[in-house]
Structure formats: structure tokens, C-alpha cells
């Protein structure tokens, strides 16, 4: 504890079960300069850590503190079985506001080695009900989904059939999720966060352990989906469906016996996400990976990737995936065009070369030389 700033930190809730099962700490900060100096990492052992801040309220309204504490308690209760899960909530004393602390949520979360940071605003409507806008930043995003495959394809120039080794990748690219606008209750938000925390854990595991966390993630996200209406917040609802699609996809990998059924569910959630937010490029990328995994018509996956490239033309990864799809269908010239697009985007943005581009370019050239 830094004596110089005499910052008072009260561990109001510190729950520990089974050694380092899950934990939460509410930090009450009294010194406005608190965030200007580095602090010790709280729960350094945590695998999935959420750093949250009291919601900023207008005037002397204490609702922001109260709702943040409610969220803290609800999240903590929901992750009771999530070993390695942790939450730290920063609140200010009565009469003070978090805005006076010049806090940068992302900086604090990075310093605390957290995976997620949450902050927001609160206001009372004319009937006295609280309206909350919450902002979630993924400091370290969880793994997305990808599908590897090897296919024998005949080239469009009529050359010899070639075996194409490919990887269609859909990493998590949406680093921020906005929740607009929750009325009074933070429960849906707690479910979303718990579902996401479980996804973090399940997506990097295999077998039964993966199944356990991913099923938990699906359960929590499904509750969120039921509690939120489309009219209220299509954006956040769409994100919940994307994570449901990803969770089902990973579950299909962990449970091959039910893979077909689980992939169908993943596909349905991804479709729902696309209907809710047709402008989010991560959705068609997820749909493409699921289509590849389902061994669907390659034209479908190609169409999804084209849509993703339309929405995020600067994403080189999408162009490379599109090139892989084209080469797997023997469309070598089209594949080369997509790699040219990736190279062009990379050059315009002064970015470092993506090794995948050069590898695939070499691969295609070899095929074409052999065909001649």
C-alpha cells in the first residue's frame, strides 16, 4: 500500500473457496491521484479478471455506486464455480465521483492484467428509474474460432488436382461491446459477463473441462438473450449470439459425437447475430468458419467471407481466408487476386507483412508451375 497517497483500500468482499477458486474485491478509493501511480496487481493468479468501475452519475446521485456494487455481487455469485475468475470494482466514497479521478479504465485494466474492463454512465429517467449505458472493453480478447482442412481441388485452368491445406480463421475483432441502455437492473449484464468469462475459460481447454465451461457460457448467454429485447439493444444482443455461436462451435470440437447438432446451433446463432447487426464484420467471418466446419457448399463460406471483406476491407486476415477458400475450390486466379488485396491493404497501411500471405502465394505459384 502506498503510504504517501494514504489511499484507503477496503476489501469489503473477499470470497475464497477451494483455495483460489474465485474472488472479488471492492476497492474504495479516496485519493483523486490514486490512478496516477502504479499499484500492486490484485489477484495475480486470476485467469479471467474483470475490472469494473462505478457508473458515472450526474450530480450527487449515488445510484452509480449502488449499481456497480450490485453488479459486482451478482457477477461474483455467478462465477462461484469458476476457478481463476475474479472481479475488482473501484468505487469512490459518498459525495465523490469517479470522473474526478481522471481514470482511464483501459490503463487500469492493463495494469491489473485483467482480460475485461467495464465502465459506464447512469441517469434517472422521468419516472425515477435508472438508465445505464455500460461499456465493456476486451483488453485481451478470448480465442475466436477457426477451421483447418485439407482438400483436393482441381485447378480452374484444367491442370492437375492439388491438395490445398487451409485455415479459415475468425478471431475476435470486436474489442468493445456497448450496452445501450439497461433499465434499472444490472442482472442481464451480470449474465453476459459471466457467460463471457466462462467462454474465456472453455475456449482454451479441451475435452470434458472445455465442455463444462462452454456449457456454462451457453447457459448464461442464453439467459441474457432472453432478458434483452431486440428493440432495447440489437448490438449487444448480436454480440451475445456471436459468442453463443463461438461457444457451440468450440463445444462441437470438444464433443465430436454431437458435433453436427452443435454446429447447427452455432450456425443458427450466427445467423441471428447477422440479422441483428448486419454491419458487424466479425459475424460473417464466424458464419464462414462454421460453414467450412459443417462441410457446407464452399460457395456459402466464400459468400460469407466476401461480406466480411466488404465490411472490414482493412482486415488482411479476411482476404487471406478468402484466398484459401478460392484455392480450395481450384480458383487460383481469384485466390491470387485476394492475396493481392491483402498485400495492397498491408502496403497502404504500412503494416508488417503477414507470413500467411507469402506462404499461400508461394503455394499457389508452385501449383500453377506444376500444372504447366
Amino acid at each position: 500500500m502506498n503510504r504517501r497517497y494514504r489511499t484507503a483500500i477496503f476489501a469489503l468482499a473477499f470470497v475464497m473457496q477451494c483455495g483460489l477458486a474465485h474472488a472479488g474485491m471492492r476497492v474504495e478509493i479516496t485519493d483523486p491521484r490514486y490512478f496516477e501511480t502504479p499499484h500492486k496487481i490484485i489477484f495475480p493468479w486470476a485467469e479471467i479478471k474483470l475490472v469494473s468501475f462505478e457508473f458515472e452519475a450526474t450530480g450527487d446521485d449515488a445510484q452509480g455506486k449502488q449499481r456497480a456494487i450490485e453488479l459486482h455481487d451478482q457477477f461474483l455469485a455467478k462465477i462461484h464455480d469458476l476457478q481463476g475468475g475474479a472481479i475488482i470494482t473501484y468505487v469512490t466514497p459518498k459525495g465523490q465521483k469517479i470522473s474526478n479521478y481522471r481514470v482511464k479504465a483501459l490503463d487500469v485494466a492493463e495494469q491489473q492484467k485483467a482480460q475485461m474492463a467495464l465502465w459506464g454512465r447512469i441517469i434517472l429517467d422521468s419516472s425515477g428509474a435508472a438508465l445505464i449505458n455500460a461499456r465493456l472493453m476486451l483488453v485481451t480478447p478470448p480465442p475466436g474460432i477457426s477451421a483447418r482442412y485439407a482438400k483436393a481441388a482441381s485447378q480452374d485452368e484444367g491442370g492437375l488436382p492439388v491438395e490445398v491445406l487451409g485455415l479459415i480463421d475468425a478471431p475476435v475483432t470486436e474489442m468493445r461491446i456497448d450496452f445501450n441502455t439497461l433499465k434499472t437492473d444490472v442482472t442481464p449484464l451480470a449474465y453476459f459477463l459471466s457467460g463471457l468469462a466462462r467462454y474465456y475459460k472453455g475456449a482454451v481447454r479441451e475435452g470434458n473441462e472445455a465442455k463444462r465451461w462452454l456449457q456454462g457460457s451457453i447457459d448464461d448467454l442464453n439467459v441474457f438473450v432472453k432478458q434483452m429485447s431486440e428493440a432495447q439493444d440489437r448490438g449487444a444482443l448480436s454480440q451475445a449470439h456471436v459468442y453463443l455461436a463461438r461457444a457451440y462451435f468450440h463445444l462441437a470440437n470438444a464433443d465430436p459425437a454431437r458435433a453436427s447438432d452443435l454446429l447447427l446451433k452455432a450456425s443458427n446463432h450466427a445467423k441471428r447475430a447477422a440479422d441483428l447487426n448486419p454491419y458487424d464484420p466479425s459475424v460473417p467471418a464466424v458464419q464462414a468458419v462454421i460453414a467450412v466446419k459443417q462441410d457446407a457448399d464452399p460457395g456459402d463460406a466464400r459468400a460469407y467471407l466476401m461480406r466480411a471483406a466488404e465490411l472490414a476491407p482493412t482486415d488482411k486476415n479476411i482476404w487471406v481466408s478468402l484466398a484459401v477458400m478460392n484455392s480450395s475450390q481450384g480458383k487460383m486466379e481469384a485466390a491470387k487476386r485476394q492475396l493481392d488485396n491483402a498485400t495492397l491493404v498491408q502496403r497502404i497501411q504500412d503494416e508488417a507483412p503477414l507470413p500467411a500471405i507469402q506462404n499461400l502465394q508461394r503455394q499457389i505459384e508452385t501449383y500453377q508451375q506444376e500444372a504447366r
Binding site: T58, R121, I123, D125, L131, N133, R135, R176, D178, N180, T181, D233, R234, G235, S238, L276, N277, P278, Y279, D280, P281, M306, A309, E310, L311, A312, P313, T314, R337, D340, N341, L344, V345, I348, Q349
Partner: protein, 310 residues
């Protein structure tokens, strides 16, 4: 005593007379000056040719006409120079530097307020509005968009003290190099106002250049509408659309690699703007502008300019 009083009275009226002449138009001053010179010229000519000059009262009238109209010319041009200096100083201090995005918010014209109390109240509200809008943009503008500066403009000190409206908003934008401006009109009752957002017609092309925002009552919390209500989406959507249009416009002016870079950025910005206000994609104003076929066409043009082939 009577003569002194009369003289003193004339002296006090004289500045008023000078001021009055300074308000006359240049052609009128020219006619008056010509009349004065004609009288004096006739008098001098008559004297020169050995004849009797004009009567003393006529000569005094001619001299006065000459003096007053010449002074009118002088005072008028000095006044104009001062006004131009004030205008230049205002424009210099409120003009956005090249490459920066300034959203200027003009407060309500003073003439629209019935009394001093309502003027103060409306100015307080306007300050709240500026704070509220700044918070939204500071927090929720997505990466890839340069943060615009929100500048509150005291209209009474501006060259447009009579107000900003559809007739002059584009001139204001051009003079101040802003990419968007916001202004308001107060309803007759003085308790409500309507806000408008203006995008430069140079950027707006086939989109709406003037966008009416929602009416609001002076006693209502502006944060509720602009941070939590429909106003949030219109504000965020239209400001990011304005920035995207500006990027697109700059791309058209650029050449070589810079041109491609800006067109690529414009494509990305148009798409991101559509994504972030997706919750209100059915809003009539956003639908007519941001989600319109015109923006689709700009995205396609940008794609072709960058050279991305499907």
C-alpha cells in the same frame, strides 16, 4: 446666454448628425457630397467672374453638406474596417486548422429570448448540451475516427449575431472551416428549442445538409436524450458520417498512395459508422442518409479507387 445655449445644443446634435450620415449608403453620400460641391463651386465661380456669390445661408448649407458627407464617407469606411477587423479576429480564433475536425455549437440568438433571465437560462442549457455532447464523442467515438473538437460559439460575438439558419449555415461552415455546425431556434413561448445539425454542402452531396434534431424543453435533462435516448444515435451517427464524408472528400483531392490510403479509410469509416448506430438503423434520418444508396455508392467508388477486386 440664448446664443450660447443654442450653440451648445448644435454641438451636442452634431455627433448625432455625423453618426446618422455614417449610416447612409455610399451612393447617397456621393450625391450629397456632389450637391455640396456644386453649391460651393457655383459660389466660387460667381465670385471669380466678379458677380455676387450665393447667399450666405446657401454657402453654409453647401459647406455643411460637404463636411457631413465627407465625414460620413470617412466614418463609414472606418466602421467597416473595424467590423472587418473584428470579424477577422473572430474567424481567426474560431477557425479550425486544416486537417482538424471542429463541431461548432452556436448558442441561441439573443433576440429570440424575451428577457435576460431566459437568456441566461438558455445559455446555461447550451453549456450543458456542449458538455453532454463532448462526453458522448470523447467516450464513444470508435477507433479510426479522429476525435473532433466541440467548440461553443457565443453568437453575440460572432459576425452572425442575427442567427445561423439554412440561408447562411454553409457560409459559416466555410468561413470557419468546420465540418459540422449545430445551432438552435427558440420557440415563441421561450421554453422550448429546436436543434439543427448542418453538414457542409461540399461534403453532404446528395445527403441532407441540414438535419433537424429533436425539440427539447429548457427544463429537461439534455444528458438523458443525448447520452441515453435516440439523440445519442443521431449525434454519434451524424458526426461519424460527417468525418467519413470529410475523409472521402480529402481522398478525392489527393493523389497516389495517399489517395488510396484515404479511400480505404473512408470505406472503413462508413462501415463502422453503420455498425455503431445499428440499434437505430430504422431512424428515418439515419436511414435516409447513413444507410442510403448514396453512401453505398461512395463505398463502391472507394473500393474501386483503392483497387480491391472481389
Amino acid at each position: 446666454m440664448g446664443g450660447i445655449n443654442e450653440g451648445w445644443e448644435y454641438l451636442t446634435k452634431f455627433p448625432q448628425l455625423l453618426n446618422e450620415y455614417a449610416t447612409f449608403s455610399y451612393p447617397l453620400l456621393g450625391v450629397l457630397l456632389a450637391a455640396g460641391l456644386l453649391i460651393l463651386g457655383t459660389h466660387v465661380f460667381k465670385k471669380y467672374t466678379g458677380k455676387n456669390g450665393l447667399p450666405g445661408a446657401v454657402v453654409v448649407l453647401g459647406s455643411l453638406l460637404c463636411f457631413l458627407s465627407a465625414s460620413g464617407f470617412f466614418l463609414k469606411s472606418v466602421g467597416e474596417r473595424q467590423a472587418q477587423t473584428k470579424r477577422d479576429a473572430f474567424i481567426t480564433s474560431h477557425r479550425a486548422p486544416l486537417g482538424e475536425h471542429w463541431l461548432l455549437i452556436f448558442d441561441f440568438p439573443r433576440s429570440a429570448m424575451p428577457d435576460e433571465q431566459s437568456r441566461e437560462q438558455s445559455q446555461r442549457r447550451m453549456k450543458n448540451l456542449v458538455g453532454s455532447l463532448s462526453e458522448v464523442l470523447l467516450e464513444d467515438l470508435p477507433p479510426g475516427f479522429r476525435q473532433p473538437r466541440i467548440v461553443h460559439v457565443a453568437i453575440a460575438q460572432s459576425p452572425w449575431e442575427q442567427g445561423v439558419g439554412q440561408n447562411n449555415f454553409d457560409d459559416v461552415i466555410r468561413e470557419l472551416n468546420a465540418f459540422e455546425i449545430m445551432w438552435g431556434n427558440v420557440h415563441e413561448q421561450g421554453d422550448r428549442a429546436k436543434l439543427f445539425l448542418g453538414i457542409s454542402t461540399r461534403l453532404a452531396r446528395n445527403l441532407d445538409a441540414i438535419i433537424p434534431l429533436r425539440d427539447f424543453a429548457f427544463d429537461e435533462d439534455l444528458r438523458r436524450e443525448h447520452q441515453f435516448g435516440d439523440g445519442y444515435y443521431r449525434l454519434l451517427g451524424l458526426v461519424t458520417l460527417g468525418i467519413s464524408l470529410d475523409t472521402y472528400h480529402r481522398a478525392q483531392q489527393a493523389s497516389g498512395e495517399e489517395r488510396k490510403k484515404l479511400f480505404l479509410a473512408a470505406m472503413q469509416q462508413f462501415n463502422k459508422t453503420r455498425e455503431i448506430v445499428n440499434n437505430r438503423r430504422d431512424d428515418p434520418i439515419l436511414k435516409r442518409n447513413l444507410y442510403s444508396a448514396n453512401v453505398d455508392a461512395m463505398i463502391q467508388t472507394a473500393r474501386a479507387e483503392v483497387g480491391l477486386t472481389p
